[in-house]
């Protein structure tokens, strides 16, 4: 029995994933759930565990390649398969072996059957059929050249050094990346071809003498974020509503109960309080925990709360599943766990799927408030501004209170201003009059 390893679906809106790195090689023995490869999608960079124990008999998608979800990326064979798979042919197979040689489709194949499964291997086979050399492959990698697009003039149609250099020379000038002086100001920069999975984000670009700009390919994550943000702006009718919330009571509760939480192994931050207030408000107003499907409103039973986590270069939104079933300690732990694993790049696909509402925290970096963009296909997002002590009027007296601005970005297609403000009123009340018994 062999098991196909497929490109997992990392979120409902995701169509493809990129294999960043294979952690094991063909021939390796592997246990079920042992990390097998790393992928990068629009939502998450993750290590994917092996779905079965056995021998890794084939890798069908190379590092850096992007394939549709559910495409077979590798095959795990059982112990039996190795014997039949490894040596190509013992002798001419005159009599058909009693056991079926080519494994029949193992488990019920996920939704993308023949079309994808057939298209994918042939695509990689085409790449392998391009004859080249180590030098040519390095040049292709460095310049982002798809070798199948280069005509080979060497023996047997081999792509030679000269072929690829000529090909690179003929490409639009802007595509030749960092090396060399900039082209004499040509029109707008042409898009850079299929980029290698290399990140230059965060590192200061270096300019050669006389060079006024440097083009660096985006990381996969950066490209996805860019696509998503623009798509969301185009999809939803964004409106923002800003509320001032007094966190003095929350701060008192944190002080009073923080030690107890620490004993339980987690820090009592602001976020679980906000999450709890949001959950209650979502329960009360299901239209905010919904999405739009054509001309239908899709209400979600579960409250799956996304919490945005800023990474060194990028942003990711892991999801606390069925957050409404957790108490404050459970929320606290879940959020800390997800944030920790997000920064360690150890999220699994399920961690970023099925969010129904998102909280983002621009205040963590000093913003008084933010105007966040909705995380599609959700219909609202809460932005948390920085928490500061401010003078406020309480019972006609000026008092010092811990204040933060909360912003709701909502989709006016579904949510009117009144509803949004009722929702925010609910959240504000929940926080300002936080029930101590819950803590």
């Amino acid at each position: 029995m062999s098991t196909d390893v497929v490109m997992p679906q990392m979120g409902e809106s995701i169509a493809e994933g990129t294999v960043v790195r294979w952690l094991r090689k063909v021939g390796d023995e592997i246990d079920r759930d042992e990390p097998l490869f790393e992928i990068s999608t629009d939502k998450v960079d993750a290590e994917i565990p092996s779905p079965a124990a056995g021998i890794l008999t084939a890798i069908k998608v190379h590092e850096g390649e992007t394939v549709p979800i559910n495409s077979v990326v590798a095959v795990i064979g059982g112990a039996d398969d190795v014997a039949t798979a490894a040596p190509p042919a013992e002798a001419a197979p005159v009599i058909p072996a009693p056991t079926p040689p080519a494994a029949p489709p193992a488990a019920p194949a996920p939704p993308a059957p023949n079309s994808l499964a057939a298209a994918d291997p042939s695509a990689t086979a085409a790449v392998e059929r391009v004859r080249s050399s180590p030098l040519v492959r390095r040049l292709a990698r460095e310049h982002g050249v798809d070798l199948s697009q280069v005509t080979g003039s060497g023996s047997g149609g081999r792509v030679t050094k000269q072929d690829i250099l000529t090909h690179i020379d003929r490409r639009p000038a802007a595509a030749s990346s960092a090396a060399g002086p900039p082209p004499p100001s040509v029109a707008p920069a042409a898009p850079i071809g299929p980029p290698p999975v290399v990140s230059a984000e965060g590192t200061a670009p270096t300019f050669d003498a006389g060079q006024s700009s440097v083009a660096v390919p985006m990381t996969v994550m950066r490209r996805r974020i860019a696509e998503h943000m623009v798509a969301s702006r185009r999809t939803s009718a964004h409106v923002h509503s800003i509320f001032e919330v007094d966190f003095s009571r929350v701060q008192q509760l944190r002080k009073a109960h923080g030690a107890r939480y620490e004993q339980a192994g987690t820090k009592l931050t602001l976020m679980p309080f906000i999450a709890k207030a949001v959950i209650d408000a979502l329960r009360a107003m299901p239209i905010v925990n919904a999405s739009v499907d054509g001309d239908r409103v899709v209400y979600k039973r579960d409250i799956n709360l996304g919490v945005a986590v800023a990474l060194e270069s990028g942003l990711i939104v892991p999801v606390v599943k069925q957050a409404d079933e957790k108490n404050l300690l459970g929320l606290s732990r879940a959020i800390a766990d997800l944030a920790g694993r997000a920064r360690a790049r150890q999220l699994v696909p399920a961690d970023v799927q099925d969010g129904t509402f998102t909280i983002t925290n621009p205040g963590g970096f000093g913003a008084v408030f933010g105007l966040p963009i909705i995380n599609q296909p959700q219909v609202a997002i809460l932005g948390v501004g920085s928490l500061e002590k401010r003078p406020v009027v309480v019972n006609d007296a000026i008092a010092i209170r811990s204040i933060a601005y909360l912003t709701l970005g909502f989709d006016h297609r579904l949510i009117d201003g009144v509803v949004a403000d009722q929702f925010m009123g609910h959240v504000k009340r929940g926080l300002e009059q936080f029930e101590e018994s819950i803590v």
């Binding site: 050399s133 180590p134 030098l135 060497g154 023996s155 050094k161």
Partner: protein, 324 residues
């Protein structure tokens, strides 16, 4: 500055070192009154006396053994083997004793073992050997093989001044055929440095010794077909100058490794492996080895010519690489 032969350059270098340092002496069969089988040491007996130009019985093991013993006692022997083929008799004492001596107890053996190597003169199976591969595998031994008179003098002087054993291979085909300008001045050619004999952008040919000239002749023919060959003369075979080779391969991306010794297990295999390991991503074609056939060296001149790599084979191999 005077034009002199490869052989005269070796003699001059040896004499200069003997004059410069009285610990330096020569030892070997017939090297005194007769001046050695090829006359490399001619005139040295008259100039330096029998105590410093010592004739020996026909026993290569005795020659090297005596040389090592004297080196232990502070001398700097230059031992001649009449034909380098017979260095095989000294394999044990060279590899197990001389080469390991510094490592085992800190006693360096500042000895040069020199002798004529190579074919092309119908020397037959016992007088044509190129034994570098046998010794390349031995840490502690240095191996040099000059191709010009200038290098022959500079390298023999460097070898004599080296504090560890050096195998000095003199290509007998070059002894009197090669003549070039050699300074009278005291100079050395450092051990461990290759040199580019002819620059070119298309294919690198890595070689040494007499094959350097074969490669240059092939390069000349190929230039008429607009193929520019870069010829590297290694000069030192151990330690190998990988940097010079890799720099060239990074430029040309294609390489032929050429040597006169037999192909299997030859120094070409080592060089090709190093290029593949360290320069893989510079290669636009597999490294090609050109060497002699895996047989003893034939005596018959026609057979010997067919046995050794020649201009024709180099032109063909380079041509195939260009087309690859």
């Amino acid at each position: 500055m005077a034009e002199m032969t490869y052989l005269e350059a070796i003699r001059q270098g040896l004499a200069e070192e003997m004059a410069r340092d009285e610990r330096v002496y020569a030892i070997g069969e017939d090297i005194g009154a007769y001046g050695g089988a090829f006359k490399v040491t001619e005139g040295l007996l008259e100039r330096f006396g029998a105590e410093r130009v010592i004739g020996t019985p026909i026993s290569e093991t005795a020659i090297i053994g005596a040389a090592i013993g004297s080196a232990y006692l502070g001398m700097r022997p230059v031992a001649e083997l009449q034909f380098i083929d017979f260095v095989a008799c000294c394999f044990n004492i060279l590899t197990n004793f001389a080469a390991k001596s510094r490592y085992r107890w800190g006693a360096g053996v500042p000895m040069v073992v020199r002798g004529p190597c190579g074919g092309g003169v119908s020397g037959g199976p016992f007088h044509s050997a190129n034994p570098e591969a046998h010794f390349l595998h031995t840490p502690g031994l240095k191996i040099v093989e000059p191709s010009t008179a200038y290098d022959a003098k500079g390298l023999i002087k460097a070898a004599i001044r080296d504090d560890d054993p050096v195998l000095f291979l003199e290509h007998k085909f070059l002894y009197r055929r090669v003549k070039d300008e050699v300074p009278d001045a005291d100079y050395v050619v450092p051990i461990g440095q290759a040199v580019v004999r002819r620059p070119g952008d298309d294919v690198t040919v890595v070689t040494f010794g007499a094959m350097t000239y074969t490669a240059l002749e092939a390069a000349e023919q190929l230039a008429q077909r607009d193929v520019e060959v870069e010829v590297i003369d290694l000069r030192t075979l151990s330690p190998l100058d990988h940097e010079t080779v890799l720099q060239s391969v990074a430029k040309t991306n294609k390489v032929v490794v050429l040597h006169e010794a037999q192909r299997t297990g030859g120094i070409g295999a080592e060089i090709a492996a190093a290029i593949t390991e360290r320069g893989f991503e510079h290669l636009d074609a597999p490294p090609v080895r050109l060497a002699s056939l895996d047989t003893p060296v034939p005596y018959n001149p026609g057979l010997e010519a067919a046995f050794r790599p020649g201009v024709e084979q180099i032109v063909a191999a380079v041509g195939q690489l260009v087309e690859y």
